[in-house]
Amino acid sequence: MERKSPVFTAFIYACAILLAVVILAPLAWLFVMSISPAADLAAKPLRWWPQAADFSRYTQLLSRAENSAGAAFTASLRNSLEVAAMATLATSVLAVPAGWAVSRTPSVGWSLSMVIATYMLPPVALSVPLYIGLSHLGLLNNVFGLALIYLTILAPFTTWLMKSGFDSIPREIEAAAMIDGAGLLQTWRIITLPLAAPVVATSALFAVLLAWDEFFYALLFTSDQRAKTLTVAIADLAGGRVSDYGLIATAGVLAALPPVLIGLVMQRALISGLTSGGVKG
């Protein structure tokens, strides 16, 4: 084994601390802004730590009093949850059979490659016809319409993840069940899906994260509280005339909490999902 000199060890620790600060400082500042009184945030020189922590903005944003900042925020929170849930459910229903089919019958794989190649398309290349189409269907400013459009982003990625998941389940196990007389649906129910459950769950979480993060289509296709998602609501706050920067920061913290918690709890699964693409090529 390589013997590490004390200088080298000190260097490693210095770099590690630097990296931790780079990652944490902006996030910590977002949280500090959310609990600092407005006067502290406007002070010169800037006060880096509030004299008294003020959590009132959290209750303000989560209250549902009419016409308040809270009403708009909670409406967009609900829309984001609804769109993410519907889009994830729909994409899973499409992706499980398709992913399995490609995994077991590679000769149809080129069609999935084509679906995945659509990743290269910038959303602006589809946005005008989608806008006109949604408006004909009366689905502009509608959570169903938005969830439907999100399939353009979620379905290719999810199907590809499912396919690699099914690849790792030996087809001999399925074949054995089928020889014993089980039909396709029965084989899936008894053998394949229980074995694939972790992959299906990881793919679904990726889908939720992608839907939660989406901004461009939501900006184009929603216009008020009936369908505006969190990302659009936050962009409105950031670009609007809100004078309390702490309120913007609070909205950011609240919107970031679900994906950050998912990220931390599911770390291992997410990282292997993310890197499998990179390592396998």
């Binding site: 990296l19 990652i23 000769s107 659509t118 950011g252 994906p259 950050v260 990282i271």
Partner: protein, 294 residues
């Protein structure tokens, strides 16, 4: 079971996905092509056939060439920085030190943070009057007066690139780290015994293992960077004086702000073509790298 039956069943299982994809991707793409040859407005007139007018007007406009160069700068610098910082962070995380697992866990945070929240956070940090960057730099006596980081054409793009890098280098780091952990220990040990210095060990022993995964990360990040919209829209809306306007923002303005659907479509297709050419060029490169590494 016969092969034909298997294939038919596979198509049947894929049918729902393929139908939806044709409806929400295939048809809109074809319709964008049609629109790009018309003078259609977003609302109202269906538009008349105008041949290649939209394309010739756009390719010769200074708006387009300037936006193309802004987007290229953004993509090249942010992706290059993300790759370099990402690999350095991965090399660090591949060392043994206390707290390594925690630090690796922290790397997921910027990645998990929604893009819009990241943009909002940095917009607040760069705020000309109350921003943390101005406060920190003046309190450290690095600058004397508060500056408008996003308000001046000279610094706005750089400020955007920093915000984009902060969010995206951890992903590169995680991908590189996974690849580093696949390097067999006896190989690095052997190189050490043979007297290879740190640089040569990286270049000849470790880099071949990294090359494939890094190329994939490079391709994905470059495509993303060329399509960039969200972070710029939230932080600067393409300003000041259009100095941070990306191609996607230009298409948005043309098609939705000015409602010129036809010319917006021709722009959008040009962007698509550029991204496709890039991706194909990269894919060839990936195959070569994978071939030479193996």
């Amino acid at each position: 079971m016969s092969g034909t039956w298997m294939t038919m069943r596979a198509w049947l299982l894929m049918l729902p996905l393929l139908m939806i994809m044709v409806a929400v991707i295939g048809w809109p793409l074809v319709d964008t092509v049609r629109l790009s040859f018309t003078d259609a407005q977003l609302v109202g007139t269906a538009g008349n056939y105008v041949g290649f007018d939209n394309y010739t007007k756009m390719l010769t406009s200074s708006n387009f060439t300037r936006t193309l160069s802004t987007t290229t700068w953004f993509a090249v610098i942010s992706v290059a920085a993300e790759m370099v910082i990402g690999v350095l962070a991965a090399l660090l995380l591949n060392q043994e030190f206390r707290g390594r697992a925690v630090l690796r866990g922290l790397m997921i945070l910027p990645w998990a943070l929604p893009t819009v929240v990241n943009a909002t956070l940095w917009r607040l940090i760069y705020n000309p009057e109350y921003g943390a960057l101005n406060a920190a730099l003046t309190q450290l006596h690095i600058i004397d007066d508060y500056r408008s980081w996003l308000g001046e054409p000279g610094t706005a793009l750089a400020a955007l690139i920093v915000a984009d890098c902060w969010k995206n280098f951890p992903l590169v780091a995680l991908i590189a780290l996974a690849a580093l952990q696949a390097v067999p220990r006896d190989v690095t040990a052997a190189a050490l015994v043979d007297g290879a210095g740190p640089f040569n060990r990286f270049r000849f022993v470790i880099l071949p293992y990294l090359a494939g995964p890094l190329m994939v990360a490079l391709v994905l990040r470059t495509i993303e960077a060329f399509k960039v919209f969200d972070i710029i829209w939230v932080m600067t809306r393409g300003g000041p004086a259009n100095s941070t306007r990306s191609l996607s923002i230009l298409v948005y303005q043309e098609a939705f702000s000015f409602q010129r659907a036809g010319s917006g479509a021709s722009l959008a297709l040009t962007v698509t073509l550029l991204v496709t050419v890039l991706a194909v060029a990269y894919a060839t490169l990936v195959k070569k790298t994978a071939g030479s590494a193996a």
